[in-house]
Amino acid sequence: MSNEDRISNWQLIKNGIFKENTIFRLVISLCPSIAVTNSVKNGFLLGVAVLFVQTMVNTTVAIFRKFIHPKIRIPIFMLIISGWVTVVDMVMAAYARAAYKEIGLYIQIIVAFASILARAEMFASKNRVCNAFFDGLGSGLGFLLALVLISFFRELLGRGSLWGFHIVQAKPMLIFILPAGGFLAVGLLMAFFNWIDMRFYGGKGAGGASGH
């Protein structure tokens, strides 16, 4: 029994990272994926913040799922989300001041991320606490991974550096640190993952999540 549970939890994490990746497969929460990904550091920090909020919100919603009246569930989810976002916001403001100056606005905007409300509504409010925890962990990790990947390419091409360290001496491609380049990077990476999915796993791309 416990063995079975562990496998399904592992699958929940994998599901969040690959099959239902927030950005590349579900195509939601694209605003942060373009706004903060012009450097790996910012992308990583926001990804960690979202990972934490996602996991805690999923757990909290799952704990209280029997007490939340279905008719007012959305406002209550929002209250839970904003509570956890406030925790992250205050912790970051206290301990990571330099980074907070840059991405503070986007930390507060996590409240409005579609991905977090979607996981709470679709999964956490219908499942057991343990499963909801691992689902939140998975989809948070997927988001973190996507953000790091996008910002890796954008910072490398747009500034010739990674995590603030200068690497490439060639003339950088300015467009990739501008918002237009963010759209390009997200679109190209999405197309790349769809291509891998279709070519090697027989899937249908982002249109229909594949069954592996």
Binding site: K171, M173, L174, I175, F176, L178, A180, L184, L188, A191
Partner: protein, 336 residues
Amino acid sequence: MEAIKKQHELVVSVSPHLKSEETTSRIMWTVSLSLLPAFISGAYFFGPRAVITTAICIITALLSERAFQKITNREDTISDGSAFLTGLLLGMNLPATVPFYIPIIGTVVAIVITKQLFGGLGYNIFNPALIGRAFVLITWPRAMTTWMKPDAAFMRFDAISAATPLGILKEEGLAKLLALFGDKLNLYTELLVGHRAGSIGETSVIALLLGAAFLVYKRYISLHIPLSFIGTVAVIAWLFGGKEGLFTGDPLIHIMSGGLMLGAFFMATDYVTCPSVKKGQIVFGIGCGLITMLIRLKGGYPEGVMFAILLMNCFTPLIDRNLRSKVFGFMKKEAK
């Protein structure tokens, strides 16, 4: 026996049964041919660098199209000439003195991202050559706005940089432009011939008009878009272009400088990305003209033809849907 054989030769097919002689590849090659005068004038004024830059664009366009179709197992469509035309147009839209990686990357963006990733010829939303140019302009603004002073001497590789007439008009005003070119008549003549700084293929108005007249004569393009585009630019330049108030602007300078001629006749009329209904084409042209003049007079860039056409490309489906002609006998459903 003979009769049976005859019967077998009858071909049963779905409509259309009468096919025009015109094919996509023929149109593409003819348009490329009509760009030849402008290309020759560019080569004459900007020397071997102009030829090399354009050649790099064309070769990269053909190679990247072939490579993409090979990787994705698609039909090889290199011979239809659309990649050649895209490469040629992009090359003619670049300054002659750009470093060689710019035409290569611009062309790859144009062919792979703008055309092939959207499904190939006929499915692209934006004009590929213009997206390629917009990409390199935003990416390397410095190199893309360093223009070469036209020099009619052949085989000269060293170049003196100069500002385009629109750049001078924006930064320093009409007086400086007139001082540079002598008097107004001389300015008009130089603009007409193409003896000015600018992209390789955009400078010579006469050569571009020659090619455009050929296309209009062959009925490959209609005049709806170019005339409404240029007309709108002229009217707005006349209304708001002058420093002394309304109705004092000089429309001729605005018409003959920048990329307007090349854009209006060869880029805005791209079959794939412009509206197909005539009324819609006029709306498209007016929109292009408005955005162009908005950027030229109020925007940060001295030239706005490229962004104007790209922005109006977005509206093409909307225009087509709302302005299509009414089908005979079709009645609108009453709203209940």
